[in-house]
Symmetry: C2
Subunit: 177 residues, 2 copies
Amino acid sequence: MNLEAFVLQSEGDWRCMRSGHSLAFRQFEEVLSHITIKRLSLDDPQVTDLIATADEPEGKPCSPFFMEWSAESDWEPDDPSLVSQGSCVLIPFPTNADEGFLLRSVGYAEAEQAIGKYSFLSDGTFTLTTPYGQSIAEERIWFVSEHVRCRSSVLRTSEGSGVLQTSFSSEVRRLSL
Amino acid sequence: MNLEAFVLQSEGDWRCMRSGHSLAFRQFEEVLSHITIKRLSLDDPQVTDLIATADEPEGKPCSPFFMEWSAESDWEPDDPSLVSQGSCVLIPFPTNADEGFLLRSVGYAEAEQAIGKYSFLSDGTFTLTTPYGQSIAEERIWFVSEHVRCRSSVLRTSEGSGVLQTSFSSEVRRLSL
């Protein structure tokens, strides 16, 4: 699996089941959501604007993409004000066939621009470690079939190695709209 | 990570938060449970008995262990009849430093003796694929710190590549009893 193939396979509309585990409180969260992933061209204004405003990592930009999500929490399914949604632009900067940096306009753990380090494991699993101001997010994404992918995350404190929460998302491609 | 180190690091008492995702029905399941893992010696009767009754895989047995779990479902927390518990004996048969077979007295997807194929990914993640009569289980386990590990599973039908359900467990070591 290389980066271009991974982005190509990720492109599309996904229905997600996501579980969050708050380890200290032993609390579960359940979220149903949709994710849309679209490839962008390198000269798309969203891409050139993000590169212009960011601390550009080493490597050359490759296979940028746009991600949009809308989630409905289990707590108040009838209260539309609690539906969380958002979008971000992501630009990989490969440094070799298996590794590189990922610049994103909006972070996962914190809503700020962020640069993470990605690498592919021996079976093609994509892993991403992103430092934020207060925390470090470790994500991994792997395809279990062409149309099903899994995504896990671990959030730990920047100081020390305390693990705050984990999450797991099962994502099924929506084949016809 | 080699097999012996993995079993050694897994030994102990773990408090688990487990989420199950039924993909076709978009249903969540939440389970709190305890797992205890203990190494066994190669001449323990539980080990020799299992080897005697099983179709022995290639390789030599190494680092056998015992696993015991008790789970409390979210559906009926006050009904003790619904607490699921069980135990099994697991015997790895390494074929090289990174791969081998795993014989277990009780299966994960089905309650029968089973032999799976394990391998370690480049970052030390343990992966295990076990064929059962009706299904194939793909599990992966990785340590995010010395005392926190994550475990995911994907269950698919033997015929075709339909993914039936996934699960994710966050496991925190109980340090003092």
